[in-house]
């Protein structure tokens, strides 16, 4: 067996392991939880966070985007929303911000929560769109590998084999398969990010509520 044939066998094995169907491989239980074919994550796709699942403080319907008109508040929102800001520091900053008489504290709490919710919900939506984009690229790449493997097989079945062509295409398949596998690992990691943002939003909202009590 020549080098090209070895690569072809390896590509077949990888194809069978990586995407037995038309898409990424998922366990049947996980796949059953999916309703959207453009969504590659085991976690169910929830496009938007729900205020009601996070916040039981005073209603924020009247706040709108008022938080954006206050530069100090806007800066605080950006700082607290950033995942590099440790939660302990965020809690201290929230406690330092929500001060004054009860009406003032309530007003600040509402605006701060509204700003954080808008910002983090947007961040999360961007991540979800990014996951969908990667998934589409992955499907396109899977199709390309499948097509290249078919071509490779045809080349090898010919009585007169063009070894240089076979070798070049086998290298291409090998490279594409490696990219596919790397991307698959990335998707698994990125799928966790919406939950990480939900956790942060919930933790910040809880701190705002505590600062109000």
């Amino acid at each position: 067996m020549n080098c090209g044939a070895n690569r072809l066998v390896a590509a077949f094995v990888l194809l069978a392991v990586l995407f037995p169907g038309a898409s990424l491989s998922l366990s049947p239980a996980r796949a059953a939880g999916r309703t959207d074919s453009s969504w590659p994550c085991a976690q169910p796709k929830v496009p938007q966070m729900s205020i009601a699942a996070i916040w039981d403080g005073p209603p924020i319907a009247d706040v709108g985007n008022a938080w954006e008109n206050n530069p100090a508040l806007k800066d605080l929102v950006v700082r607290l929303a950033a995942r590099r800001t440790p939660l302990d520091d965020a809690r201290k900053a929230i406690a330092g911000f929500i001060t004054g008489d009860p009406a003032e504290r309530q007003d600040k709490a509402k605006k701060l929560f509204a700003g954080l919710f808008d910002t983090l919900n947007q961040q999360r939506a961007d991540v979800i769109r990014g996951i969908e984009r990667i998934d589409q690229k992955q499907k396109d790449l899977a199709e390309k590998i499948r097509s290249d493997v078919a071509t490779l097989r045809e080349l090898q079945d010919k009585p007169e084999q063009d070894q240089s062509k076979i070798s070049a295409l086998a290298s291409e398949v090998e490279w594409s398969t490696r990219v596919f596998e790397e991307r698959r690992k990335t998707i698994r990691y990125v799928c966790e990010v919406p939950t990480v943002i939900e956790q942060r939003t919930f933790a910040l909202a809880r701190s705002i509520r505590q600062a109000l009590d």
Binding site: V46, I51, A53, I54, Q199, F202, R206
Partner: protein, 322 residues
């Protein structure tokens, strides 16, 4: 002098509320640990390394052990509550998730999702003494206060199966809403409550007539129905108040035990699944799988009064009775 030495510890116990100090054990599904919480301090005082994927967890009736189902190890581990060490195992079937003890504390019934059986274990001899064929993918387990009726819910057929524990036969089945997850009796045996995670309801079943007498529905203002997924249920001993954990809605519903109406929704932590009362029923602790914490609900004021960080993906919880 002796008076001072005697009074000081007593006074400090009274002031600190030590008389009501209980111990809660929380299984952390992703960390493969069990967190031990002191309810006097509301703090984790110890973390115990256990097997893979711990979920169902319960004290034995004699309080000597905490049993924890470690699904990926296909067994139930026994934690000695004196030393907080894993000291043995019970022979469950494959992938145990939930189990229930007979009221006499001698027998354990374990749901085995993979082979559609309930395994019966004698706790003292740590041996399997039989099994019962039940519906497809058995999940929730409840037992009547007199120990005569075992109820097992089937995720796939959406049924609650009533099993006579003396004959070990299914005597009746009741259809409930989609994906029944948890079943519990009122203390007086008058009602069985079964939660349906996908259906979004709790069925209140008459355990004598084997009929659904009422369905509790949930509606949280501003929230779509999909995240409202009922799982754990705890009912006070007097049967007057029920609490239902509503999964990714992050809320616990408080139910009037007589009218079966929702009285209040409490925001706890993220993805709330299971709960346990302190024995005096002053507090209810909830496991919140996504926020990785336990919320403490004051049962009288119906307010969340504390949050305790535990391990990754807290799942089940059990409370000492003394």
């Amino acid at each position: 002098m002796w008076l001072r030495f005697t009074l000081v510890p007593i006074l400090s116990m009274v002031l600190s509320g030590a008389a009501s100090a209980y111990t809660a054990y929380v299984s952390n599904e992703r960390s493969n640990t069990v967190s031990v919480i002191d309810t006097n301090k509301w703090e984790v005082v110890k973390t115990i390394k256990v097997g893979q994927r711990p979920r169902g967890i319960a004290y034995t009736k004699d309080q000597k052990y905490v049993l924890v189902a470690v699904g990926d190890d296909d067994t139930i581990q026994m934690i000695d509550t004196g030393t907080n060490q894993v000291v043995g195992t019970l022979p469950s079937g494959p992938d145990p998730e939930l189990f229930v003890e007979a009221p006499d504390g001698k027998t354990l019934y374990v749901a085995n999702e993979d082979d559609n059986t309930v395994t019966i274990i004698d706790i003292a001899s740590r041996a399997q003494i039989g099994d019962i064929q039940v519906g497809v993918e058995p999940e929730g387990m409840g037992i009547s206060p007199d120990g005569k009726v075992l109820v097992n819910t089937s995720e796939t057929t959406n049924m609650a199966h009533f099993i006579d524990t003396s004959t070990r036969k299914v005597v009746n089945s009741v259809l409930v809403d989609a994906r029944p997850r948890f079943a519990t009796f009122k203390q007086d045996g008058s009602e069985l409550w079964v939660s349906s995670e996908v259906g979004g309801t709790v069925s209140v079943i008459d355990p004598v007539k084997h009929a659904v007498q009422q369905k509790i529905e949930f509606k949280i203002t501003g929230m779509r129905p999909e995240p409202i997924q009922p799982v754990g249920i705890n009912i006070t001993r007097d049967g007057k108040t029920g609490f239902v954990a509503l999964g990714p809605s992050n809320h616990v519903a408080v139910i009037d035990g007589v009218t079966h109406k929702v009285v209040k929704y409490l925001l706890v932590g993220q993805r709330v699944w299971h709960m346990a009362f302190t024995p005096d029923e002053k507090y209810l602790l909830t496991t919140n799988g996504v926020s990785n914490d336990v919320s403490v609900i004051d049962v009288t004021s119906l307010k969340v009064i504390n949050t305790i960080q535990v391990g990754q993906l807290p799942w089940g919880i059990t409370m000492s009775q003394q």
